[in-house]
Symmetry: C2
Subunit: 311 residues, 2 copies
């Protein structure tokens, strides 16, 4: 227990260039930290031995997609001989945590509340594991505004439904604002990973983060809807005039929490449809699956570039 | 297509005593409705044939738990001879939709945004399938306030972090309020399914719905925390003085959407810890799993009672 307390007390020393900032003095008093939703513990598992080499954490919605990404990045990094990436959260099915060398591939479910749990437990995991200079990515899907479906958007700004870059949450009955400050260097570096030879476009843009897929994104095809197509299109045009290129459901919390944790982070999503053309996802699932690899390709190039620089 | 349009135009006729209210005129214009997140369509699948006999939809967070519940209710209803319940959303891993006779057992992930998607697609599913008199339940887990862990709470009131029974969402840039009106008859009937011989208690109470597991529920053991134990306990005491018995992350959206859809619905959760005793879930997983069956037992009794009444 003493070693753990010492480790906790040394929180501020684990900084590197961009150290994980826990900013929670209360953790010093814990004799054991159960990362409940991924069924890992800083006492029952040797997190340093298991995860100490992690440099990149890639989050995405679905477990199956993040398993595929783990296999993809494993191959890209020449690690296939290690066998298929293992799911370290295999004792629970709430989230999946695959590892391929220095890369964790983590599912976050849908929406900021679901993301916020796994995000915090992963921040604690990389902290307890003693990781340094870790970079986080959200690799996801989104609805586009005036973009050809299958376009990759690197978010240079993330906003809520009122177009503010602010993640609001209620703590002890009071609403607090967490600013969603984007890491502009990382955004530029990621966007520069696009190649002229790619069979998809990569752009920078503003991402609107909604708390709902249907009404929250102005769709008219949910079970509930109190607005008409005309009002929807006026709103979509207003968004586009304000630089919004795509909409999804996690970017705001993701960027705000990265900023809060002093972790480099970026959001990179493919658009699955152009919302000016419709609301439903009618493209066949095979093509949708192929499109979902596009942001993975961009992030994989960034990871390989950084690993080459440091080797 | 004509049959579909007719079916859509007949929306208001599908009422029964408590018909599903779609309240979305826009759906009349769809030639096909892709229920994208469960990989079902009202044209490519015969939803009436597959799901027309559904009378109860039970939602819960984890897919594995909802698979177990489907097996449990299948056994309780004497349907084991039909084989293990099938997951009809098997073409996607975002959600699971198991069916056991007249009961659907559906996973909703974590948080209202995740719930809102599957809720709306299930409302459309039971509507397209022509189901009548459907009752929805959320069977979940929660943190308790001053209750013995393992107690079942039937929510007679659900509130947000500001203690208001109001689900706020942003639509087309404007915040709208959806009242979370509980069905008091269903609450009474559910609470009355408790037996003196049960090895757990069942109580009625107010459930606070938070958008986060850590700070949003006042925990001090997340990656981020800006308050102290003392402030937490003051807040917990204030909640208890206001009748709050437990906290979770979906009840508010669930009850508000049931009310909006004119569907009878109730929330029934077990408490996994007493928040006055701590924040971490330290009870062993086997006992936690056993506790998670308690609200399933209560809801199962209600379902059997209703099926017996109507047979």
């Amino acid at each position: 227990m003493d070693a753990l307390k010492e480790q906790n007390q040394d929180a501020k020393l684990i900084t590197g260039n961009r150290g994980v900032r826990l900013n929670n003095e209360n953790l010093k008093r814990l004799t054991e930290d159960h990362l409940y939703h991924i069924a890992l513990s800083n006492v029952q598992h040797d997190l340093g031995q298991l995860f100490g080499d992690v440099k990149f954490v890639c989050f995405g919605g679905q477990s199956s997609r993040m398993e595929k990404f783990a296999s993809f990045i494993s191959k890209e990094l020449g690690l296939e001989d290690n066998g298929p990436p293992k799911n370290y959260a295999g004792n629970t099915d709430r989230y999946a945590v695959y590892k391929a060398g220095p890369v964790l591939s983590v599912s976050h479910g849908i929406g900021i509340p679901s993301l916020s749990i796994i995000f915090q437990e992963i921040v604690k995991l990389v902290y307890y594991a003693g990781c340094r200079d870790v970079t986080f990515f959200r690799i996801g899907t989104s609805g586009g505004l005036g973009l050809e479906p299958g376009t990759v958007v690197v978010s240079e700004r993330v906003v809520n439904g009122a177009l503010e870059p602010s993640y609001k949450m209620v703590v002890l009955g009071k609403t607090i604002d967490r600013p969603a400050v984007v890491d502009t260097t990382l955004v530029e570096d990621l966007a520069n990973c696009s190649l002229n030879s790619d069979n998809f476009k990569t752009v920078k843009g503003t991402t609107l983060c909604a708390d709902d897929f249907y009404e929250g994104q102005g769709r008219v095809d949910g079970a509930f809807c109190e607005h008409e197509d005309g009002e929807k299109f006026s709103w979509l045009r207003k968004l586009k005039d304000n630089g919004v290129t795509n909409m999804e459901m996690e970017s705001l919390g993701f960027i705000a929490m990265c900023h809060r944790a002093n972790i480099k982070g970026a959001v990179c999503c493919v658009t699955l449809l152009d919302r000016f053309e419709g609301d439903g996802l009618t493209t066949n699932r095979q093509l949708l699956s192929e499109w979902q690899t596009f942001p993975q390709i961009i992030v994989s190039r960034y990871i390989q570039q950084k690993l080459n620089e440091s080797s």
